[in-house]
């Protein structure tokens, strides 16, 4: 067993940021149906990266953490020009690099390199390890003679621990284990002497027993070669070990960013809190956590209104962006807990649920034919009585029978904006005084409405 302690790495202050990202957006348009195109209708787009800002100091390790669909991989690809930014700016040493042509970008790739998740897919199976690792030298015309290429390949391989290099150079990817392949990929990434290395889940395909070794190698390379890392991962445990700062992404946005120490000791965004809680710990006295957020990351094509996390958030309140789809989710969750016969009885009363799928700040639940709005209202009342403390109900401004249906109006939702707390920056209404004040105003109004009419005039 070999233990290694990781040196404290402090970003050097006083220097200008190596990479400065401002309000970056990357969108992918969706291919609509044939008829949509005939009618000239847009099929919509996925906002994979949706207004992301951060700066990266030389020598720093920034962890970008999120679940699948958070946009973390697209962010990494956009930084490297592998996906085109739709909007916003990326400055590398003060120079704008968005919108550069492939030809103009190419020289920059000597300084910005990437390591992908799957080491097997990253190496050409028809090339020897030596050829693969030396390939960037040829592409960028850095070394021309065979001897020069070979000596640099040997140096890179030995630096990543594939020694003696002569033994590994002649091998093909299939001859190597997963960890060895990832070492070879790292050798290829450092051979041009880059400044920034973007590592996209570099250890998540590897066995637990080798992850530590590859992380240790990355720490050594950083120190020896003065690298700056963007470490993209879903795993807050490895990020804790490795990163100076952490950015938590959810549906294309950075919801919390701050010094790693602060994020782990005092996570603020409810999403960060749940991510930390969900990590399985090798401690048998701990049982599976029960209070995890419900559901999964929603579809990025039609993200939730207001705060994207509100449908899953245990601490959501009045102004977080409640909407029609939340009602459908709540109804479905209720039906999931019911015996089939009771579910059928309730389902028969309510007409189409699809009308709730269109995101809206109000919802109309129509009764099915042969049923009345009163019956629908009864179901909604039961839904409320079942879970009166569900955050959903804080968002309901008005619920009444209207025009033969049940109409619900929600409080105006606010889009979260950046707020500072401690040394972190986050997007959560719980930390935004204006959002809290707006919610308080909503509560005041509700209290005054709840009072009997005779008192109302005398209150103010």
């Amino acid at each position: 067993m070999e233990a290694v302690t990781v040196p404290e790495v402090q970003p050097r202050s006083g220097e200008d940021a190596l990479l400065e990202v401002r309000d970056l957006r990357t969108r992918f348009s969706l291919r609509g149906s044939f008829f949509d195109r005939l009618r000239g209708r847009e099929a919509g787009s996925v906002k994979a990266v949706d207004g992301v800002s951060f700066s990266l100091q030389r020598g720093e390790v920034l962890g970008v953490v999120g679940e699948s669909g958070s946009g973390k991989t697209t962010l990494g690809r956009t930084l490297l020009g592998l996906a085109a930014a739709t909007d916003g700016s990326i400055k590398f040493e003060g120079h704008e690099i968005t919108g550069l042509s492939e030809n103009a970008f190419r020289p920059l790739r000597r300084r910005l390199q990437i390591v992908f998740q799957d080491p097997h897919a990253s190496l050409n199976p028809a090339m020897t390890i030596g050829e693969s690792v030396g390939h960037p030298l040829k592409i960028h015309g850095v070394a021309r003679t065979r001897e020069e290429i070979e000596s640099r390949v040997v140096e890179a391989l030995e630096r990543v621990g594939l020694a003696p290099a002569q033994q590994y150079m002649v091998k093909y990817p299939t001859d190597l284990s997963g960890g060895q392949k990832q070492r070879a990929v790292l050798a290829r990434a450092i051979i041009l002497g880059p400044d920034i290395l973007i590592a996209d889940e570099p250890v998540s395909m590897l066995d637990m027993s080798v992850r530590a070794k590859i992380l240790e190698l990355m720490i050594d390379l950083k120190r020896e070669l003065d690298l700056t890392y963007v470490y993209i991962t879903h795993d807050l445990a490895t990020a804790k070990f490795f990163c100076d700062r952490i950015a938590i992404m959810y549906l294309g946005k950075i919801v919390e960013i701050g010094p790693a120490k602060e994020i782990y000791a005092d996570p603020k965004h409810p999403y960060t809190v749940s991510l930390l809680k969900a990590i399985p710990e090798p401690d048998p006295t701990r049982t599976v956590p029960r209070d995890l957020p419900r559901g999964e990351v929603p579809d990025a094509v039609t993200p939730p209104l207001g705060c994207s996390f509100h449908p899953r958030c245990p601490r959501a309140f009045e102004v977080c962006g409640w909407e029609s789809r939340d009602l459908r989710a709540l109804l479905e969750a209720r039906w999931t807990r019911m015996p089939e016969a009771e579910y059928r009885a309730e389902r028969e009363v309510i007409g189409s649920l699809e009308s709730l799928d269109e995101p809206a700040m109000s919802a109309v639940v129509e009764p099915a034919s042969g049923h009345s709005a009163g019956e629908v209202l009864e179901i909604v009342d039961r839904l409320r009585a079942d879970a009166p403390d569900d955050p959903f109900w804080t968002g309901v401004a008005d619920l009444a029978e209207r025009d033969g249906a049940v109409a619900i109006r929600f409080h105006d939702g606010l889009d979260p904006r950046d707020v500072e707390s401690g040394q972190s920056r986050l997007q959560c209404h719980l930390y935004d005084p204006d959002a809290l004040a707006a919610a308080e105003a909503v509560r005041d109004e509700r209290r005054s409405n709840d009072r009997p009419p005779s008192d109302r005039g005398m209150a103010d």
Partner: protein, 341 residues
């Protein structure tokens, strides 16, 4: 204590290759009781998935097995393939890793359930089948409103829940889950582990949970079996094994976990051995920090270190079997840094 549903004795499963056979499972014994979860852990290539497949009779052609898998009164290795097939589903359920690829994209969820129930419980009425299916789905948190939807309309986590519901709708006595959460996000993984934990309480199913993640074992399993190079090197109650790991491999595996509480990076030097030609005697001795002379010379004997907690390691004796001088530290070649998995 509840009854033993699955009793595996001296199980071997070998794959044929052009040269010598791959001894993926090489003399493994364990039992699982109803309502119990046994976690089977080890690195890639230790034989844990093969072990799961052997129990279900799903080994490819050209493989050979020996030993016993006692399920109720039968030895599953001795009965006809047809009988094993009829047991698979209602008695022996399975959940695979990749939920994306295991559902038929062309048919609805309802169709998947009806097909399963038609095959195994044809006597149920259509209505009963429907009720059973909706109950199984509801237990996994899938709303009944989505019964007639197609697999692509569900997220990865939901598909994995549908797969679990599809296995549970037949109320299997034994459920083999091979890395059921590996492809999923951490929060969804937590949700599914919660469901699996409820399962053993509510359904009395015996669950064999195959995973490389010891964190999952700690949180979701009653007992744990640690596999290395085709052998179970240690097994016992999860709490015991985690608190006092007896085998140096278990200790190393526990140390290599990177969790929020980790303060130093640790790893196991070297790589798991080839299963065609594993090291003689104790298979872990070339990587073992505590290796003694005897470890390279004599196959270790299983010993009990505590009640229901056993290991195969000379450090725990039996002393009388260790030849004189056998407890001297083993001189070993140094393992190169890149010799790894």
């Amino acid at each position: 204590m509840s009854e033993v549903v699955l009793d595996v004795r001296e199980l071997r499963a070998w794959y044929g290759t052009e040269g010598d056979p791959v001894r993926a499972v090489d003399g493994v014994s364990f039992e699982i009781r109803s309502g119990e979860t046994l976690g089977l852990v080890g690195e890639s290539g230790c034989g844990k998935s093969t072990l799961g497949r052997t129990i279900l009779g799903l080994l490819p052609e050209g493989s050979a097995t020996s030993g016993e898998i006692r399920y109720r009164d039968r030895n599953l290795l001795a009965v006809s393939p047809k009988e094993v097939r009829s047991l698979r589903g209602p008695d022996l359920g399975l959940i695979f890793q990749e939920p994306m690829t295991r559902l038929d994209p062309l048919v609805t969820i309802e169709h998947h359930f009806m097909e399963t129930l038609n095959a195994h419980e044809p006597d149920l009425s259509h209505r009963e089948k429907r009720t059973r299916s909706l109950e199984a789905l509801a237990a996994m948190g899938i709303p009944p409103t989505r019964f007639k939807q197609y697999p692509h309309e569900f997220s990865g986590g939901m598909r994995q829940r549908i797969m679990i519901a599809l296995a549970l709708v037949l109320n299997p006595k034994v459920l083999v889950a091979d890395e059921p959460t590996t492809a999923l996000d951490v929060i969804v993984e937590g949700q599914i582990l919660g469901i699996l934990a409820d399962l053993r309480r509510n359904f009395d199913t015996a669950l064999l949970l195959i995973t490389h993640n010891l964190g999952i074992v700690a949180e979701a399993c009653d007992r744990v079996a640690v596999m290395y190079a085709g052998r179970i090197v240690e097994q016992g109650g999860a709490r015991n094994v985690f608190a006092e790991p007896a085998h140096p491999y278990t200790r190393a595996l526990l140390d290599s976990i990177i969790s929020l509480g980790t303060t130093g990076l640790k790893y196991i030097p070297g790589a798991p051995p080839s299963l065609i030609d594993p090291p003689p005697a104790c298979r872990f001795h070339p990587r073992c920090p505590n290796a003694m002379e005897v470890c390279a010379a004599k196959f270790p004997i299983q010993v009990d270190v505590a009640e229901g907690h056993s290991t195969e390691c000379w450090l725990h004796g039996p002393q009388e079997e260790i030849p004189p001088g056998g407890d001297q530290p083993l001189e070993r070649e140094e393992i190169a840094i890149a010799e790894e998995a």
